[in-house]
């Protein structure tokens, strides 16, 4: 599903140059649930942003579902994001003046889906994350866990190939974190490929494979025994 070869990325701030990714190689197969771990500054978020086409690599190869991702202009990047990817952010990133339902239907709007179908689909995904009765609430009326579940529903709405989650539990307490992870595991069980960036060990161990990053290189990449989050809820 994802193939990455010798990926490099540097940030330039004035005269200083910061080499964040120093040759990353890894593949993700369809249906995998991978966590990317590392201390802050290890380059894990940068890697995820490149995978999400929110940022571009300086060097290296990135193939997503057989499509080489390079020399993207904004237009094509936007289309690919809409078509291939679903995002889950640490800070939820819901649009605060739109109801949960409207937030979930947003990717469908950009996909060109008609309003009626959009609402039906969005409602379906809200049901899936267990928030059907909250569909007309604004994000400000929802708890952190509920907001993240809306964000997950939104990420699923356009039926992407890969879900990218950047510290999805970073802003949540342990109990809510496990609820969210339970949901993510459930989605993975249905066959969706998911990448999770986290710095929490317990969260990482709820995935099926841990990729450990340090100073811009992968120091460890090994499958783990998945711990079901439902056991802790």
């Amino acid at each position: 599903m994802i193939q990455i070869k010798d990926l490099h990325k540097s940030y330039h701030m004035g005269t200083n140059s910061l080499h964040v990714l120093k040759g990353i190689n890894f593949d993700v197969k369809e249906g995998e649930l991978v966590s990317i771990m590392g201390s802050s500054g290890s380059g894990k978020s940068t890697l995820l942003n490149i995978l999400g086409m929110l940022d571009e690599a300086d060097e290296g190869q990135y193939i997503l579902d057989g499509v080489p991702i390079k020399n993207l202009n904004e237009k094509i990047a936007a289309q690919y994001r809409n078509q291939f990817l679903g995002f889950i952010f640490q800070s939820f990133n819901l649009i605060n003046y739109k109801s949960a339902l409207d937030n979930v239907s947003m990717p469908l709007y950009y996909k060109g889906v008609k309003r009626k179908e959009r609402t039906e689909k969005a409602m379906h995904y809200l049901e899936k994350v267990g928030l059907a009765q909250w569909s007309h609430h604004l994000p400000s009326e929802l708890s952190g866990g509920q907001k993240q579940r809306v964000a997950i529903a939104r990420a699923l709405a356009s039926d992407p190939k890969v879900l990218l989650a950047d510290e999805p539990t970073g802003a949540l307490d342990t109990k809510t974190s496990y609820e969210v992870m339970d949901l993510i595991q459930g989605i993975n069980d249905e066959g969706k490929t998911i990448l999770v960036v986290t710095h929490e060990d317990d969260i990482a161990h709820m995935t099926k494979r841990i990729v450990n990053l340090k100073d811009g290189v992968i120091i460890d990449d090994s499958p783990v025994e998945q711990i079901r989050a439902s056991a802790h809820v």
Partner: protein, 414 residues
Amino acid sequence: MFDIERWQEIFETLSKNKLRTFLTGLSVASGIFILVILLGFSEGIANGVKSQFEQDATNKISVWTGVTTKGYKGLNPGRYIQLKNTNFDAVENAYDDFFEYRTKDYMIWGGTVTYNNETGNYRVRGTMPDNQFIENADIGSGRFISQSDIEETKKVAVIGNKIKTDLFNGEDPINQNIQVFGMNFKVVGVFYDPGGDREEGQVYIPLTTAQKVFNAGENIRNMAFTVKMADNFDEAVAMSNAIALGIEQKVKEIHTVAPDDVSAVRVNNTLEQAQKIYSLIATIRAVFWFVGIGTIIAGIVGVGNIMLIIVKERTKEIGIRKALGALPMSIVGMILQEAVFVTMFSGLFGLIFGLGLLELVGPLIESDFIKYPQVDFNIALTTVFLLVFAGALAGFIPAYRAAMIKPIDALRDE
């Protein structure tokens, strides 16, 4: 532009950001509203001043006489200069080619005028047929003094509308007899004058008749001419000034008046005044336009400012939308369409509100100097479109910049 989904999205955004929408709309609507009111009142003032002025023909030269204040060629000061028919003939002979209308008048300031039992005190004025045009009098019914009235010294009268209202009590005055100082005159016409009551409180009778019945002989009180207008206004003023000066010199020469005696013979050239008043009106208009355009510029800056803030405030939202697959152009389009819709709607609202207020309040204004305040609808509409266009332009730059920000930077924006 006609994408219904886009419109739904925009209406949703607008209705969920009511304060922002309201403030943007308010700044645009008030800008247009103030412009409309300003332009309306500048037009009203122009109309008012013009109508004050246009009670008489604007190209009129009138000659009056008074008492000499200076001795000249052995004659003492304090002489009353009496204009005669011959003076009029002399002026007419000298400048006839330049004149359009000409009249000489003999008037009694307080004439007792009676119809049946109603009596009033009015100005009675012996005049010539041309005076109708010099005074800008409109004949409401009947006719004005005619040449044959003059030649046959008929006892006919043309009365002002005020006298008709005062004395006739709704009756038709035509062919009725009125008494002026007890003498019967047949009413042949009723006139209106843009000068209003002051001018309409007059009785015109043939000059020859006036001279006869008031024992004036060859005396006249004043004379007036209108000058044929040259195509170029400045030329016309110059010509009319030259003629006025020539007339003054001629009359002074005939009556042996010192050339620098300003009170014995006075020549009044309204065209010169007209030029001053037109330039005053032009100045008033320019000032109002200046203020109006300033208001519009302030409005444009306001809209641009609000657009900047909106885009800044929505940077994160733009990042989210881009992460979800929004194309850069759809972001620019969304922001612009929203801006254009709000400015257009509120601009038209301000326009209609301003025009409505002028329509409503305009007729209620009872001032001689403000009349019919109104605005050229096309000008007003043009300014609305100008504002919309400028607002869109002011919004485009930040919107474009926002759409070009990498989504990752936009998402980091807190």
